[in-house]
Each structure stands twice: as C-alpha cells, then as structure tokens.
Symmetry: C2
Subunit: 500 residues, 2 copies
C-alpha cells in the first residue's frame, strides 16, 4: 500500500545518504511496520529513490508529514508542502549475488551489471556498498570481474564522443603526496595539437586530488557542454569529473570507500578506465609511482596492477602505456590543494627554484603522451615537451584553458602555520607518504584548500638541529592543533638518520 505525506523541510545534511523522517505514531509507520533503518521507497512527480528511515519520536514533524535529508530533497527536486508517496521497496534481486561474492563466489558479467545498476539507482544501502567494496578489496575480483565492473560503470552513465582521430589522456595513481603533474602535462600536450579533455577526481584517501588543486586556480565544476566548448577552443581542459555523469557508479563507491580508507586493484582499474572510456579517450598514459609508502609498494604490485589495466584497456579498444616512476618521497614541496597549485604555477612559469622533480616527472609523462598519440617519434617526446615548457607555450596554454573554464585566480594562503624542526642533526633518510598525507588531511586538506604542509627538505639532505623540516598550514586553529596532536604521537614521518 502507498501512503501520501506532506513534505516539510527540516534541513539536515546527511551527506549523500538519502534519509526519510517519519513519526513513529504515523499511519505509515504503524500500518507498514516501518521502523528505524527500514529502507523505504519515496516517490514524487514520477521520480523515486530509496531512503533509510529515521523515526521521529518527538514532535519535530506532524503526524501526516514527512521530512527528507538535504540530499534526498535535492535528488527528488522537492518543494515544501508537496506530497510524497512512500511504499515498501521492491526486493533488490542482485543482493543475493553480492552475498555470493562475499562468500567467495565469482560474479558473472550479468551479476556485476545488476549490482552496479542497483547501486547507481540508489537501491543499495551504504552498508551494502561497504560490503561490496570490502569483498572487492585486495585481489577480490579476477580479470573477468574487473572488466565486467568497468563495462558496467561505463554503461550506467553518460558518454562523450569527440570528432578527433586520437584523444589523449594522462592519469596518475594516487598515494604520492604532491604528485601534481596533470596541470603541467595537459597544456604541453594541448599546445602540441593533441586533444586532451582531462577530467580529474577529487581526493579519495589523499590530501588533494587534481580537481581539488585546480579548483584553487579556476572553476572546475563544468558540465559536458562547457567541457566541449573549452576543448573545441583549446584542445585541453582541466575539469572535475564529478559534475559530469561519466561512470557515476564510481562516485557512489568512492563516497563509501573514502571513510573506509581502502580500495582494491579491481576498483582502481575500473575507476580509471571507466571514466576514460566514457570520456572518449583513445590513448592513455598512466603514471604509477612505486615506493615503500606509496599506493603501489613493490614492483610485483606494480606489474599486477599494470597487467590488469592493460588487459581491461585492450578489451575496451584503448591504447595504454603504464609508466613506473619513483614513489619514494613526495613530489614538489606542497601537499594540499593550494600548496600544490603554487608548485604547479612555479613550474609552468619557469620560476627559478621551481621544484625540479615535479617538472621532470611532468615532462617525462607529457613526452610519453606525445609519443603514444603519434605527435612525436619514439624517443623524441621528452625533448618536444621540454621546449614547449621552456618557450612559455605551456604557461600560455594553461592560462587560456583557465580563461575558457571561467578565469584564472590565485590559490589562497592559510592563516595558521606551524614550523616543524629537526630534533637533531643528521641526513633525511625517508618520508612516510601515507602518514604525511594523513597529517595534511588532519590539518584540513582537501576540504580546507589552503591547508596541508610544505616540505623544506628532501631525501638525502643534511640537516642541523633546529632546522625546519616542514611547515603545517591550516585554515582553522582547531585543525592545526589536531594535526600537531597527531604529530606528537608519531615518530619517523620524516626519518632523519643521525650523524652528518
């Protein structure tokens, strides 16, 4: 049976979990047996979604009223006073396949398609999505399942077609703080006449994603029409992928993956390739940093992930090249959206003292893209990329791209900083990338764009006691204090070996 209830706006933001609020003594609760945490189908003007019920035990809303969390309100395009209809949800058939996967069975292409479709349609609770992510974690999905997940992600979203014979792209596997090469690679490649319509993600488990960094410099929440206009004019763009419905399943998985702070090879492969395939990419270079505290920790892990990427890309008809890079320490100096943007500008503007490691990594990747896409002979890509940067053509192209996206602006600076000093003399032996990233996150990154940390030393540098190792940046004093509290409980985030 369906029940009609008048909508009241109460303004509760539950992030992306749709929540319905009903009184415990309402007719709907009593006659349908709904209770807290029941899954309820909510319908309004032909739209519907599944919401999790929170029962109102006080007089927050009336007996014949219902309220929605802000996300559910937006999804349904609701207005106060309108009437929603609620009902028991239809049984979710793919749940039994999720259960089978958790117990160790293999998912067929049809199973995976059904699960991803149900996730995109909002039929899975966050607990169920957490179970799916956990079951897929590590090496939980085989090659066929990974391809099926990728195809299902492509099929459940929009696709962009381009009028170019080759469409290039570059993707960096996360886990290496400050590895912000994309905003340098894109203008170099575009300046060489190769289309590179780059859409980037926000940070998942790191202190900054390329979209977070670019957002401190220009507008990134572009829709498909806007991306198309930018690319038609400049051949390149630097947009956030989330405002486009390319592989929306990926974003739904990431919203649960993020608080859990883990992912899987299969999900990394599907996440990368589904977004690229949906964006019309034909030639893709992947930067894979390998190091003891990077996301990819060993040559074996690198080869396993590269094989999976190459196999799925091949099945999708995409040309791909995986470039192994050094993941031993952060790249550049800044870690955090605005601090990384500052390093990017220094490289693009050929500023004296610009981080050489960031520049050389970006040039190598740009060279690989130019060779893969046929804009440079084998072995000549790096040289071509370097001259485009040195001649200022990359910086001019970057400015043009930002203008087309909505205007170039300067990244913000944090009002609260704290300099962390070397306790004793010695030589910098190692950085713990994972804990450095966590420290930058505790200081507020990426939500607070100016937050993060600025490194003053590199592996191999000799330091004296009292010499600055890095500076913490925060937008709020509470966050600075929280990061310092974490830091006080840690040893070895920056390992300094004694002696000179």
């Amino acid at each position: 049976m369906d029940h009609r209830l008048r909508l009241r706006r109460i303004g509760i933001d539950t992030y992306q979990e749709p929540v319905l609020y009903l009184r415990s003594d309402s007719h709907a609760c009593r006659s349908e047996g709904f209770e807290s945490r029941s899954r309820v189908k909510v319908m309004l003007d032909g739209k519907s979604l599944l919401a999790t019920l929170n029962v109102v035990t006080g007089d927050l809303i009336g007996y014949d009223e219902a309220a929605l969390s802000d996300y559910a309100w937006q999804q349904l395009g609701a207005r106060a006073g309108e009437h929603i209809t609620i009902a028991h949800p239809d049984p979710v058939v793919s749940e039994s396949r999720l259960r089978a996967k958790v117990y160790g069975e293999r998912l067929s292409e049809a199973d995976m398609g059904a699960i991803v479709e149900d996730i995109v349609q909002g039929r899975y609770s966050e607990l169920q999505i957490a179970a799916f992510i956990t079951a897929a974690a590590g090496r939980g999905l085989d090659a066929g399942e990974t391809l099926a997940l990728t195809r299902a992600m492509i099929d459940t979203g929009e696709r962009i077609q381009w009028p170019y014979p080759a469409v290039a792209d570059k993707h960096g596997i996360g886990g290496l703080p400050g590895n912000r090469t994309t905003p340098i690679v894109v203008p170099i490649v575009a300046a060489c006449g190769i289309p590179i319509p780059k859409t980037s993600s926000r940070a998942i488990t790191s202190a900054a994603g390329t979209a977070d960094t670019m957002e401190t410099l220009t507008r990134v929440d572009l829709d498909v029409a806007h991306i198309r206009r930018v690319v038609e004019r400049e051949l390149g763009c630097l947009a956030w992928g989330g405002a486009v419905r390319l592989a929306p399943a990926d974003d739904l998985l990431i919203r649960v993956e993020r608080p859990l702070d883990f992912d899987s090879d299969a999900q990394v492969v599907a996440s990368i390739l589904a977004k690229k395939a949906a964006a019309g990419v034909t030639h893709l270079v992947i930067d894979m940093p390998v190091g003891p505290t990077a996301k990819v920790r060993s040559g074996a892990a690198m080869r396993s992930l590269a094989n999976s990427l190459e196999s799925v890309a091949g099945a999708l008809g995409m040309q791909i090249q995986v470039v192994q890079t050094d993941g031993a320490q952060p790249v550049g100096r800044g870690v955090g959206p605005a601090l990384e943007a500052r390093d990017v500008l220094a490289v693009l503007q050929n500023t004296p003292g610009a981080p050489a490691d960031l520049r050389e990594r970006a040039l190598a990747l740009a060279g690989a893209v130019l060779e893969l896409a046929g804009a440079a002979e084998r072995g000549a890509g790096l040289g071509r990329a370097r001259s485009v940067l040195q001649e200022g053509r990359a910086w001019r192209k970057f400015q043009s791209i930002c203008e087309a996206q909505g205007g170039l602006r300067m990244p913000p600076r944090a009002p609260h900083t704290h300099v962390v000093l070397a306790a004793a003399a010695g030589r910098v032996a190692a950085f713990d990338n994972r804990r450095l990233g966590r420290l930058a996150k505790l200081a507020g990154a990426p939500r607070a764009p100016a937050a993060g940390l600025d490194l003053h030393a590199r592996v191999g540098d000799a330091v004296v006691a009292g010499q600055p190792l890095f500076t913490l940046h925060a937008e709020a004093p509470g966050e600075l204090a929280y990061a310092l509290q974490y830091l006080a409980a840690q040893t070895g985030i920056v390992a300094v070996a004694p002696g000179q």
Copy 2:
C-alpha cells in the same frame, strides 16, 4: 580544542547509530572543520561516545545548541539543557589492522583484541563494522583468529560465575524455521537437576529467535541479578542475552550483520561460544540442522563448522557435543514468534496432535545434554527426557520458570491472515527454508510477534488442488500485501511434484 554546546532533545531514532546534530554555521563546525559524516567525540559528565555528525542546515536547533539521536541520548544519560563537550576523536589505532585484514593479512590475538575493544567502545562507524563482517565472512578467519575473536568478545563484557560443578546449555544453529526446541529442552534438563541458565538471542537473519518466541510467553529482558534469582530457584531460565552485557561485541556486530543478511563461520563460532563462556557454561550441546536450504548446507560444511566449534571450545575448557540433525524442512508448524510459541506449548502440554517432529528433536537434544552433563548414562538420556515430558514435569517446570521471570502469558494472534493453496495435485517434495523465512519476515516477523506463517503440509504429504499449503499471518495489512507480492514473484518455496 573542546567546544561546549547546550543539549536540545529533538527525538530522532537512528536505531543504534549515535548521531550528533550541529548547525553548519556553529562555531564548532567552522573552527574544527567538522562536516556531515565527520566522527565526533561527545562528552557529558565523564561519559563519552563517538557519534556521526549530521549537519543542520536550517534552524532546527540554535547556533550554540546540539542535538543527539535517541540512542546517543540514552547512552550518555543526557537531559535537555545540559552542556556537552565535543572534540575531534582520538585516532583509532586498530583501523590499520582492519585494513590489513581486508587486504588479506592475518590478525594476531592482539590485533583482534584491539579491534573488538574499539568496536565495543563505539569507536568504529557502522561502515567499518560492515567491512569487518565482510572480511570475516565465508572462511575469512582461520582457527587462531576465530579463537582470538571469541576471547576478545568474552574479555570485553561481563562474566557470570555459578556455584555448580556443571552448568549445561543447548544451542541451535539457525536457518531452520520453527526449530524452537530450547523452551522444551530447558525445563526437561532443569527438572532433572542440571543447571541450565539459558540466554538466547533475538533473530539475526531469521523470522524468530528463541528470545523473540519466549517474549510472547513471558518477560525475557532480565538483568544478571534476575537471571541468578530465577536459576537459584528453578535451575533453568529462558532469558534474552541482550539485556546482559555478556559479549556485547556480538550484539554490535549483529546490528550491522542483520541488514547485510550474511555472517561467517568464525563469527558464528565466536558468537555462540563467547556468550556461553561468559555465561559460565561448562557443558554445551549444539543442534546443527543440515539441509540444502538450511544455514549449514552439506556434511562438509557441518564438519568444518563442528571442528571449529570443538577446537575453540577445547581451548576455552568447555565440553561440547555437536549433534547433526535433519535440516530438510521446517520444524513444527509455525514460523514466527507467536506461532512457534503455540507449537512449544502444545508439546509441553502433551496436547494430542502436537508436532511430533518438534517433540522428538527436543527430546533427543535434552537426552544429549543429560548424558554430556552426567545426569544420564550413555544411551539413557533420551528415555529419561521422554519420561520427564510425558509425566508433565517439563510443563510444570516451564510454568515455574516463566513465573519466576515475570509471569506466563498467552502468545498473540494475528488479525490478518491469508491461506495459500496448492495450485495442482501432487506430493510435497521440498521446502525452501531460506525463502520461507524471508516470507515470514516480509509479513512482519520477528518485530510483529504474531506475524509469520503456519504450515499445513510436510514433505511427502499428498495434496489435492486447492488444498491449503500454509497460512500467512500479519499484524498490518500492508505487511500482508507485501508478503503476498513477494510470494507472487516466487516459484518453488513449497515444491509440489505432480501426480499422486
């Protein structure tokens, strides 16, 4: 930094997930960088808990106010107008071990202890508990991890000591609808002079647990002192385990496991044995129904689970006997709390027509308990149990136990019923226990105690077209309709083979 906020009661029931509500423009949110779904430490009068933040975007609460979900309110013993203090939570150290487990590493006893302690202390979000359950599902934990999980569950709760040399108990592995032997076994064993302080769980993924069934007959939410008084007087009790803090980690896992609808061998073993060890049990008989749609589906699965139970029980110094029983079809006639209670009463009262299968299973298990605990010679347990039942001593003991718990009452009857008829003549070939249980749950069981279904045929019975196969019972018309809608989409829940 800590922030003080005045508490306002808004009356939102989020089930057992503690939720904190703060305004988005509050000082606490802005200076600490809290956002929706942040984990926040909430302190009041020396008590504290971790809550999930929901940000209030309207004017539901004031700028310097905070609200709590009903569960968090109760946990803190809050009163309106009191001031809470909030802060960033301390980093949860065991999270990195959970992540390692998800990626396939083994957990040490210390790791498992830390994870279970953090779960009991409310430091894990429900998403993280879902990840732990999923990683443990199937055969995710080895023997050592299972023992470590069991020990950690015992160590994080209360323990009951008894002044008896032997304390017996009986446990049934779920998955077989209507297998409600406990309320028959307990009075038989107690009548023979063996202490059997039974605490039972509510349903996890089934339509009724023993606690749900007993609650339709007497009070079951007894604290330890009350259980002790009942057992001192009657030697047996039939209480709900959840009102006692025996192995509370188990209940916290179950609250997430229930909506996910899956569990693991390791968790089943730890759940059973931790509760029993904490309750002071020394001699335990386990009823393990095996059948194609029971929880344990094959002899191999039975032996694997039995080995794990015996190995962990041995390490804990508990004597245990696993009894394999037939799991091919439901036991008795009723499925659902009150309908199963009716069958139990019929057996105890020696009513003509009482379900013989339920009686014989209960007698066999009671006999095994009597033998294991030394109250009957090997081979003589069944005979002794039968005479105790036939002489009415079991029924008198059951009545005394219920009186000691708070009085015996009669189970409720459902106002809405629907008889499901055989479509064609034939012979009943099989019942799908899992889908029968799901049907009873859709009709409202176990939350609606009178809901469920009543079987009118057994495997092997000949039926004619139009003959009743079973009757659906519901407390609400919406639930009856929902169950019928599910039924209409299914075939083979009761398989009838054509012909006579």
